[in-house]
Amino acid sequence: MFDWTFTLVLVANGLLVGMMYALIALGFVLVFKATEAFNFAQGEFVMFGGFIAAAAITVLPWWVATLLAVAGMVAFCFGLERVVLRPLLGRPIIAVIMATIGVAALLRGVATLAFGPGTRAITLPIPDNPFFIGPVMLPPIDLVGAVVSVVFFAGFTWFFLHTRMGLAMRAVADNQQVASAMGINVRRYAALAWAMTGVVSALGGVIWGAMLGVDNQLALVGLKVFPVVILGGFESIAGAAVGGLIVGVVESLSAGYLDPLVGGGTKDFMPYVLMIAALMVRPYGIFGKVQVQRV
């Protein structure tokens, strides 16, 4: 007997969590679109943003702490672009991958040295009582996260479609050389893309930190980014949203149905299995650009 209510609950929760994955994946996609840098440190960005917010929230109101985290991450990302990624322009992809892995290690080490190994809490003024729609129970923090995520997706979509800067960023993403020839300052837009990633990561850090608590483990949400962006395609914002939702639902369903059968832990790798299957059918993701290589 198939339990429809149970499935509905799982899907609804999966969709909410998926939106929050999508928010983190958005940070990844923004950078990849503008600079083709593959950011392995996305999870650490989120963790670091969470740490800043958690440290600030003990003395400041929550919204100041959030703004502080955003400002801190934007400054960090600007610096990172200038010091680490700009010298690596035009180098093979492994150089950028390893550089971001190095940044990830550095951030983990610095975060623990600076903020201590314990788990910190972020308390937002959000009620604890779950929210009910029919039989479906929705935790308020997930709901807030999903709403923030939707707002940001709408905002970035508007930005890219209707502003001059957005147009310039799309031009840079499309072809750096041509964009440069048209008088667009490519480096400035690369820095801008990193700054946007800083904003998104800091907010992701606050929301995920409020859900899970802030410690080194928070960086592990970054590992969820890869199936999301691969399913969606590396350079598609809509893809990040769809990929996030798919990963959230798959995770939730495998935790609900597969875990009891095989003894747990499927939630962490089912998205990857799905990702490999999807890659075999569409090697550039659902919304990804098909790359034509020339010899």
């Binding site: 992809i93 390893m98 190095g102 940044v103 550095l106 199936p227 990702m275 010899v295």
Partner: protein
């Protein structure tokens, strides 16, 4: 090996292909080998020997990963997972069939090569970053399988005791014994990789890395070459994993998690992509990093604030150094330690007339 090359004329292809064209460098190498075999077990303390043992294991794994990542250009974040496959293959053979090491180690390599080839199959369609993430997926799936399939790991703790290897009737269990046990494997790994690089296969690896479509046009079956690269690299990883488990006395999946994969990638990057010598230097460098960090902290402990928990901050400090050094090498010396070593050699070889 510092020498002056002058007046050497090669009269045969064999002489041209020789690794060490000059007698003086051959003799120096032989002397170095003898020193490597004789000196550490006689004079080094157990602590130093333990570090050397770890370096030898890392050399095997790093040389293998460099063939895949450096020479063929396929970035793999699954080396730790592959090592785990080798470790558990060897452990199961030893526990269930009482296999001696000369069966367990090649079998570990062969099984891992098989798994590695399966992981490489998506490279038929996907390339670049997408393939890298597929190897990351392999890492997670392997970890989960080992942890949850009791047939492989014998339970939820996922730890299997391994009997020490028996060589010529001697059971290897001291640090010095393990040094002498591991050294030949590291040497064979290095010599084999050096030779793979000069064969048709090795040239094909490099052609696929540099321009895969052009490689296909000159008659290289890219898919086959990529799979072979995965197989060879995984074979190395499997042997390294089995050796490491022999050394630890247990096979335990916690020794082969994603941070290990990243460590090995760092060895290859810091050492120098596509260079066997670089792999050796990188393996030594990354293995020594935590040891040196701890020693340095202890040496300056008088200068540090009194309340500081020195052993407690070593892992974090190591992470910082690790990340910082990777970035530094990528920006300042992209060709790694191998290039630095060659610079030093060239300097002395041409000194005092460096032009």
């Amino acid at each position: 090996m510092f020498y002056r090359a002058a007046g050497t004329f090669k009269t045969s292809y064999a002489a041209d292909m020789a690794f060490y064209p000059l007698p003086v460098s051959r003799r120096a190498l032989a002397a170095l080998l003898v020193l490597l075999v004789v000196l550490p077990p006689l004079f080094a303390s157990d602590y130093v020997l333990a570090v050397l043992d770890l370096i030898l294991v890392a050399v095997v794994g790093a040389v293998g990963l460099n063939l895949l990542t450096g020479n063929t250009g396929l970035i793999s974040i699954g080396q730790g997972g592959f090592m785990a496959v080798g470790a558990y293959t060897a452990a199961n053979l030893i526990v269930r069939a009482h296999a001696p090491f000369w069966i367990a180690l090649p079998a570990a390599g062969a099984v891992t090569a098989l798994i590695g080839t399966m992981v490489g199959i998506p490279s038929l369609r996907i390339r670049g970053l997408y393939l890298t993430i597929a190897t990351l997926a392999a890492q997670f799936i392997i970890e989960w399988m080992i942890n949850h399939v009791t047939w492989i790991s014998g339970g939820i703790q996922a730890t299997i005791q391994m009997a020490p290897p028996v060589v010529f009737g001697y059971s290897v269990h001291t640090q010095a014994g393990f040094y002498l046990f591991l050294l030949p494997f590291a040497l064979v790994a290095v010599i084999a990789a050096k030779n793979i690089e000069r064969t048709r296969l090795g040239r094909a690896f490099i052609a696929v890395r540099d321009q895969d479509i052009a490689a296909e046009i000159i008659g290289i079956n890219i898919f086959r070459i990529k799979l072979i690269a995965f197989a060879i690299s995984s074979f190395y990883a499997g042997v390294a994993g089995a050796l490491y488990s022999y050394y630890l006395g247990i096979a335990n999946y916690e020794q082969f998690q994603i941070d290990v994969s990243i460590d090995y990638l760092a060895m290859v990057i810091i050492g120098g992509l596509g260079s066997v010598t670089g792999s050796i230097l990188g393996a030594a460098f990354i293995t020594l990093l935590p040891v040196v960090t701890r020693r340095a902290l202890e040496a300056i402990s008088g200068l540090l604030p009194a309340g500081l928990d020195v052993p407690g901050i070593v892992p974090e400090l190591r992470l910082c150094l690790f990340g910082g050094l990777i970035i530094l090498f990528l920006i300042a010396e992209p060709e790694g330690l191998d290039r630095l070593w060659r610079n030093v050699r060239t300097y002395f070889r041409t000194w005092p007339f460096s032009y």
